[in-house]
């Protein structure tokens, strides 16, 4: 017979509560069906609303979806009562899925694309140029420079384009009465008439006016022409009808489309999309290619930063806590209250203030250090790599000390007094009882805290971004990987700074590397603390 492990919770030895016995998949399927139909209702509701109120914002669809979800769920609860436990979790799941899980999945997808500021999938209005000649599927364009596909993956091959039809439509009018113009035949179907140009023979040029309303062959003009026009020479200004085609290749000014344009389509101009697409493991290869200039030094500093911060903060926190735990010490509560002030101030503010304190010539820190002659020359805290790294660690100590101290005090207060008394009876002095009683018990309590601290500081974006801004630039680095940049600020620089060329795809790929590391650290944490240790599937 196995000995009963007393460290485990007594609950684990008791008979377990009965499971509902309905398979996970059936519940999930039912919930998914409910969510899907609610989304459908949301979309339908939104589209109907758009018909009535054309300016309705897209988020109204969320409201429709929510209302229908509640109705559907009520019905399901009546029909299948075993679904009940899921209802308690559902609100949290819906939010988690939409605003965390979905973006995470999207990040994974984007990591394999070359999505970037210049390749954002949108129409590039600046690339619009006139089409000079059409020959079947081959077009000749006017401005090759603006149209250039050099930023895109495979040049112009496979890139979507938008071809604009000419907006001018010559026609004949039969009758003009004030501002009401009657055409011989209705305007082309499916296109709206924006304006009209009437030729005035008396003056020898055309008169242009906007069209207020159009009904078949009858147009309401905004203004009446000052002289009688020649109705035979009427030109309608239509909206710019456009068709989408994909380019196969480009040779100088000649562009080949995948299929010819419609017969009646008089093409006037062309614009291309900033297409992005799959690059496979390209982003990860880029990361590896920058191994010596970015990945390895940044990763090393990132680990160094997280480990040093945790060690320094823990040692300092434990030291202070042990001092404060002295039962003879008076004003303990006052000291504790005073010492947690850096924790009580929002770090988003204090970090930005610290930036001023670290100013080389005028900052308070250098003033103090110079006054006491600690350094010969003022330290360039934010301008040189090692001082900047030291500054990050020091400020992080200031920020993190109160938490470590409080956590250690908690752990210390959990150690029973009797143990110390027993140690004393056995003849231990204070030093011996610290290493024999306090240290081992404290170690067990502090391991999960330090591991969490490591995971937190590994991604401590605020400290790096607001204090040193990742700087200073270093000789081995790149414009996005600098002296104090950690992985996460590197990813941010690649994705959202102009130096990184707004490479969203690359930034997402770095995020995934970080994610893998964070999960690995957390798994170790859970293994050590047993936070997840429970019976799967009871």
């Amino acid at each position: 017979m196995k000995a009963i492990d007393l460290s485990r919770d007594a609950k684990e030895f008791l008979p377990r509560a009965k499971s509902t016995g309905v398979s996970l998949w059936r519940s999930l399927l039912l919930l998914f069906a409910a969510l899907a139909s609610a989304s459908l209702m949301g979309a339908v509701g939104f589209l109907v609303l758009r018909l009535v109120v054309p300016t309705a914002p897209v988020y109204t669809s969320l409201v429709f979806a929510l209302v229908s979800l509640v109705l559907i769920l009520r019905w399901i609860a009546r029909a299948f009562d075993w679904i009940m436990p899921w209802y308690y979790v559902l609100p949290a799941i819906v939010f988690l899925f939409t605003f965390t899980f979905f973006p995470v999945i999207m990040t994974f997808v984007l990591a394999f694309t070359d999505y970037a500021g210049t390749r954002n999938g949108e129409l590039n209005i600046k690339s619009e140029t006139r089409v000079l000649e059409v020959d079947g599927v081959v077009l000749t364009i006017e401005n090759v420079r603006n149209f250039d596909c050099a930023d895109l993956r495979n040049g112009c091959s496979g890139v979507r384009t938008l071809l604009y039809a000419s907006g001018n439509h010559p026609t004949t009018a039969t009758h003009l009465d004030g501002t009401t113009l009657t055409l011989e035949e209705p305007a082309p179907a499916g296109r709206s008439v924006l304006g009209v140009e009437l030729y005035l023979p008396d003056l020898g040029f055309g008169f242009e006016t906007d069209v207020v309303a159009a009904d078949g062959a009858t147009l309401m003009l905004e203004r009446a022409p000052p002289f009688p026009p020649d109705l035979e020479r009427t030109t309608l200004r239509l909206d710019r009808d456009a068709v989408t085609r994909t380019m196969l290749r480009d040779e100088g000014a000649e562009i080949t489309l995948n299929s010819p344009l419609p017969d009646s389509f008089e093409v006037e101009a062309i614009a291309r999309y900033n297409d992005f697409g799959w690059v496979g493991t390209g982003n990860f290869r880029t990361i590896l290619r920058q191994a010596t200039s970015a990945l390895i030094p940044i990763f090393t500093w990132n680990v160094l930063f997280a480990v040093t911060t945790v060690i320094v903060n823990t040692v300092a926190g434990v030291f202070l806590a042990v001092l404060l735990n002295n039962p003879d010490l008076r004003f303990k509560a006052l000291y504790r209250t005073l010492l947690i002030v850096p924790w009580a101030l929002p770090n988003i503010i204090t970090l930005q203030v610290w930036r001023g304190f670290l100013n080389q010539n005028f900052g308070a820190v250098n003033r103090l250090l110079m006054l006491f002659d600690v350094t010969d020359t003022p330290i360039n805290w934010l301008g040189e790599m090692w001082p900047a790294r030291a500054a990050v660690l020091l400020v992080n100590l200031w920020l993190g000390l109160p938490f470590m101290m409080t956590a250690t005090l908690g752990a210390l207060s959990a150690i029973p007094r009797e143990l110390y008394e027993a140690a004393k009876i056995d003849g231990a002095n204070a030093w011996q009882s610290f290493w024999g009683v306090t240290a081992p018990l404290l170690r067990t309590a502090l391991i999960p805290i330090t591991l969490t601290g490591f995971a937190f500081n590994f991604n401590n974006f605020n400290v790096i971004f607001l204090l040193t801004d990742g700087g200073p630039p270093v000789s081995w680095g790149t414009s996005t990987a600098r002296g104090t940049d950690i992985l996460i600020s590197w990813a941010y620089n690649e994705a959202f700074r102009s130096q990184g060329g707004l490479a969203y795809g690359l930034g997402s790929a770095i995020s995934i590397v970080i994610f893998v590391i964070t999960v690995a650290v957390s798994l170790v944490n859970f293994r050590v603390t047993g936070a997840l240790r429970e019976e799967p599937n009871t």
Binding site: K18, S19, G21, V22, S23, L24, S27, P57, V58, Y59, M84, P85, Y88, V89, P91, F95, L96, T98, T100, P103, V104, L323, N326, D328, L329, R330, T337, L338, L339, I340, V341, L345, P346, N347, I348, I349, T350, Q352, W354, G356, F362, L371, D373, V374, P378, F403, A407, G410, A411, A445, A455, F461, N462, L466, I488, Y492, F496, I514, A531, E534
Partner: protein, 437 residues
């Protein structure tokens, strides 16, 4: 016994002599470019501190010998500890004190040459010149804030309620039956809370304007809208905290108390999704929000925060409920309550402190979030405190140091007040080990 006191006097005299010598032999400070330097000053400082520690400890030791000889060593140690802790407090508070004095100083520039006169600390620039003390920085950052009369009324009401609360708290120790006071304390706490909520909801960008020469209203410049930034941050943090509490309680309850297929898997998903720092999915979130027309809205930002907040809070609440015995609910259910009834009538009321903790944790965490807010809130009228301060530290920093300090102090006040009002609730959870993972 007398001998001990005599020795103490001797120790004090010796320490005083040593200190006087130390100060007297200190060479006069020399000027090195912009800095004032005491040559080898750190050795003298450490020496002086050592002398004080040694003197105080010996005095305590001798005093201990006189009172309780067996614990004399303990006395000496405790006295040294006190001094050391005060040194640490000095170091921790130096930036805070400096920030406060900058904010109350007339000088706005970080590139400020310290005055020639005054004491050593002022001459060396270690502390700002007290002769320049003024409220000019606060007046500047607040000058374009024009609140309506009823909003001033709300502020007065909140202040009154606060003083009532503090007064009641002080009275508590002297009254025989403190429980009668508790109701009034609760009432005034609610009063403060409601006044603040009304204030936060009622302050609008329209309250921030300057008057030009012709007496027309022109929009305030972005450095002078700190009150609006604070209001925005409070609104976002408060709603995120509320959302986290509302949505995570039921989930935490189900995870802790119900057994159903898929429970463990869902729990694992919660934990792992929560590990992905939400700002790493920034591109995707930005895309999602622009698709939903929620860019530059508080709703969009709150929703972006909600996912991580909910996962974390559910996890904490589950951990808390597992430490609560289920016997209460079981009793209620034996008496005919439904599951929901047991949750609503039993679990929720007893977990109010935990819910408060979850709310405050989210509130404080959201208050300090920078990157999502910076990405989603483009318009200046939507800025949060962190973004608002950043304009001082990038660009015109040199000329805005005092305004930055004043804004920083104002922006820190809400969190500082909340933190110290709920200090036990906030730090106690860590000390009690209520937070796992």
């Amino acid at each position: 016994m007398n001998r001990n006191y005599l020795s103490m006097a001797g120790v004090v005299a010796a320490a005083a002599t040593l200190l006087t010598l130390l100060v007297a032999t200190t060479p006069p400070p020399v000027t090195e470019e912009l800095f004032l330097v005491i040559p080898r000053g750190w050795i003298r400082f450490l020496g002086g501190f050592g002398v004080v520690v040694a003197a105080l400890s010996s005095c305590a030791y001798l005093y201990g010998r006189a009172r309780r000889p067996a614990r004399a060593g303990q006395y000496a140690l405790t006295a040294g500890t006190h001094l050391f802790i005060w040194l640490v407090i000095g170091l921790v508070f130096y930036p805070v004190v400096y920030l406060l004095s900058v904010s109350f100083n007339r000088n706005n520039s970080v590139a400020n040459i310290p005055p020639k006169g005054g004491n050593l600390l002022v001459r060396s620039g270690v502390l700002p010149d007290p002769a320049e003390v003024s409220l000019v920085q606060y007046a500047k950052v607040l000058s374009d804030t024009h609140l309506d009369p009823y909003q001033w009324g709300l502020i007065v009401l909140a202040t009154l309620a606060l003083s009532t609360l503090l007064g009641l708290r002080a009275m508590r120790k002297r009254v025989d039956n403190p429980y009668r006071l508790e109701r009034y304390q609760q009432l005034s706490a609610w009063g403060i809370f409601l006044c603040l909520v009304a204030l936060v909801l009622s302050i609008q960008p329209g309250h921030f304007y300057a008057l030009n020469r012709a007496g027309e209203q022109i929009p305030a410049s972005s450095e002078r809208m700190i009150v609006l930034y604070i209001r925005n941050t409070l609104l976002v943090s408060g709603t995120t905290g509320l959302l986290a509490v509302l949505l995570s309680t039921t989930a935490g309850y189900a995870f802790a108390r119900m057994r159903f297929e898929g429970r463990y898997q869902t729990l694992l998903t919660f934990v792992f999704v929560q590990m992905f720092p939400s700002f790493m999915a920034l591109v995707a979130i930005f895309y999602l929000m622009s698709y939903l027309d929620l860019l530059n809205t508080f709703v969009g930002l709150i929703l972006a925060y909600s996912g991580a907040a909910i996962a974390f809070s559910s996890w904490i609440f589950k951990g808390y409920l597992e430490s609560v015995s289920p016997s209460l609910e079981e009793a209620a259910m034996v008496d005919g309550a439904t599951r929901w009834g047991a949750f609503w009538r039993i679990i929720l009321p007893i977990s109010v402190p935990m819910l408060l903790f979850i709310f405050l944790l989210q509130f404080i965490g959201t208050y300090s979030e920078f990157i999502l807010a910076n990405t989603i809130l483009i318009g200046q009228e939507h800025w949060t405190v962190g973004i608002g301060l950043r304009q001082f530290s990038s660009g015109r920093f040199d000329t805005q140091w005092g305004a930055l300090a004043a804004s920083a102090v104002l922006g820190s006040l809400p969190i500082l007040l909340i933190f110290y009002s709920f200090q036990e609730a906030l730090t106690g959870q860590y000390t009690a080990g209520g937070v796992k993972g």
